[in-house]
């Protein structure tokens, strides 16, 4: 009976010893710290969700060959991955709602959404999807080649993107920001209204600033 009285103590001691033995027997990788390079690569090879609130897509186009007009798109989403060890493994997919075009004046915004320009109801999404990524010539830059789909037309585009920075956000989430400027020929995408008269330029410069939250 005395043996039975000491059984819980014996069981607890046995369990404790077993756990200690298991911990000692685990591979040494847990005990050893990773090298700095490993930690760097591990930290950056991850996916980010594009933060629509802190990302911006602006467009710049000439108006009657006299001035430069700026407008914006208000709804941006998508995701990207970034791998510092192997930039070619990075990727991006960005979606802009065509009907979120904002030209400051509502009548002009409506005109831009209409079939005259973006035809936003029939072609609701403007999508950029990378096909290949390579390290850029300058530091912290990437050459991203991908397909831009606008008004239902898909064309190859190569964009130089520059890393703006990185760091913890409000709640400790890892943030990373990228910036790019590139020019498209809107006529190639079937958005040809006003080109002939020069009322609205053929070439449209897109200024894209993206903030990503690590998933």
């Amino acid at each position: 009976m005395k043996i039975l009285q000491h059984a819980p103590v014996a069981l607890g001691a046995t369990l404790f010893l077993a756990l200690c033995a298991a911990a000692l027997a685990r591979p040494t990788t847990l005990a050893a710290h990773p090298t700095e390079a490993e930690a760097y690569a591990e930290a950056y090879a991850e996916a980010y969700a594009i933060d629509g609130t802190h990302s911006t897509v602006l467009f710049k186009v000439s108006h009657f060959r006299s001035s430069l007009y700026y407008g914006r798109f208000n709804e941006v989403s998508g995701e990207f991955t970034f791998d510092t060890a192997d930039p070619a493994a990075s990727s991006v997919r960005m979606v802009v709602r065509a009907d979120s075009v904002d030209a400051k004046v509502e009548n002009l915004s409506k005109h831009l959404r209409s079939p005259d320009f973006l035809d936003a109801t029939q072609f609701p999404e403007i999508v950029f999807e990378s096909q290949s990524v390579a390290a850029g010539e300058a530091a912290d830059t990437l050459e991203v080649t991908g397909e831009l789909t606008l008004r239902g037309v898909t064309k190859p585009v190569t964009v130089t993107v520059e890393k703006v920075g990185e760091g913890p956000g409000m709640r400790g989430a890892r943030l990373m920001g990228w910036h790019a400027t590139f020019t498209i020929d809107r006529g190639e995408f079937g958005v040809d209204y006003g080109i002939e008269r020069g009322a609205v330029g053929r070439e449209v410069e897109l200024i894209v600033s993206v903030e990503g939250h690590a998933r």
Binding site: N107, D119, G190
Partner: protein
């Protein structure tokens, strides 16, 4: 596009084409008397086909050729509409007996609305709203066809006029509510119909040729649907525009005289009321930018 080119392709060329078709069919140089009570002569008329071709030529001249599926730039509803009107116009040329059933109105209405509503079905609607909108518009198109045909029988000299007025009002409303392209697309059909109307009035051969009313109704209904769903034509204005042929028919049936000047003027005046209301709403809702867009 320069104003001269717009006038050439949007007005002059379609009007010339319609006039040519009218001359070929009506042969005014022979001094033929129009059929008793107006209407089509015994020879073949190509007026509906001229309206359809005028739409294609006017659209192409002003806005470029309408896009075709499989091309680099996918077609929008406005592109589809040009092809649909052309196909229906050709079908009206001389439909073989076997094809009569195929080209019956309910099937044409369904076939015409399907590509126009495809982007809404693909991107914006679930099954229930898609069925509801499709069914409602299908019935609406058939009702507009019916009222146009009934008006052409009852007040033949007024029918084309009502359609010209409706098209002109639609073009203005579409332009004021956000799409100059849709306004330009309506212009050649308006010009062709207007030319036929004036020439018919001149020769007292007042009834539009076979298919002309149906084609014009289809063009306006399709442009109205396109402007409503894909541009910013407000629902109230769309309903007022669509009610014009019904108002004309109702006035002709209820209060209008059967013959004489009044038989033409009363339906035109009745149609003008909802059209004027639509234009008033469009103009009052338009805020002109002092610097232009």
């Amino acid at each position: 596009m320069p104003v001269g080119a717009i006038l050439l392709w949007g007005v002059a060329a379609p009007a010339a084409l319609a006039a040519l078709a009218w001359c070929v069919g009506r042969r005014p140089w022979r001094g033929d008397r129009p059929p008793p009570g107006g209407g089509e002569p015994s020879v073949r008329c190509w007026e509906a086909q001229a309206v359809a071709l005028a739409f294609l030529i006017g659209y192409t001249g002003q806005l470029g050729p309408p896009r075709w599926p499989g091309g680099e730039v996918p077609p929008g509803a406005q592109d589809w509409l040009v092809w649909i009107v052309l196909a229906v116009g050709l079908a009206y040329a001389r439909p073989p007996r076997r094809l009569r059933a195929l080209f019956s109105r309910p099937l044409i209405a369904a076939g015409a609305l399907a590509p126009l509503l495809l982007p809404m079905i693909r991107h914006h609607w679930d099954a229930q709203p898609a069925i509801g909108w499709f069914g409602g518009l299908w019935a609406g198109l058939l009702a507009c066809w019916w009222s146009g045909d009934a008006l052409a029988r009852r007040a033949p000299a007024a029918a084309a006029g009502v359609l010209v007025m409706t098209g002109a009002a639609l073009a203005l409303c579409a332009g004021l509510s956000g799409s100059a392209k849709l306004a330009q697309a309506a212009a050649p059909v308006c010009a062709a119909l207007g030319t036929l109307w004036v020439l018919d009035l001149w020769r007292h051969a007042s009834a539009p040729a076979t298919g002309t009313v149906a084609l014009a109704v289809l063009a306006w209904f399709g442009l109205g649907v396109t402007a409503f769903f894909y541009s910013s034509l407000p629902a109230g204005q769309a309903l007022l525009l669509g009610s014009a042929p019904l108002a004309a028919l109702a006035s002709s049936t209820v209060v209008g005289p059967r013959e004489g000047f009044g038989a033409t003027v009363v339906p035109l005046a009745a149609a003008a009321l909802p059209l004027a209301a639509a234009l008033f709403l469009a103009w009052s809702g338009f805020e002109p930018d002092p610097y232009g867009y």
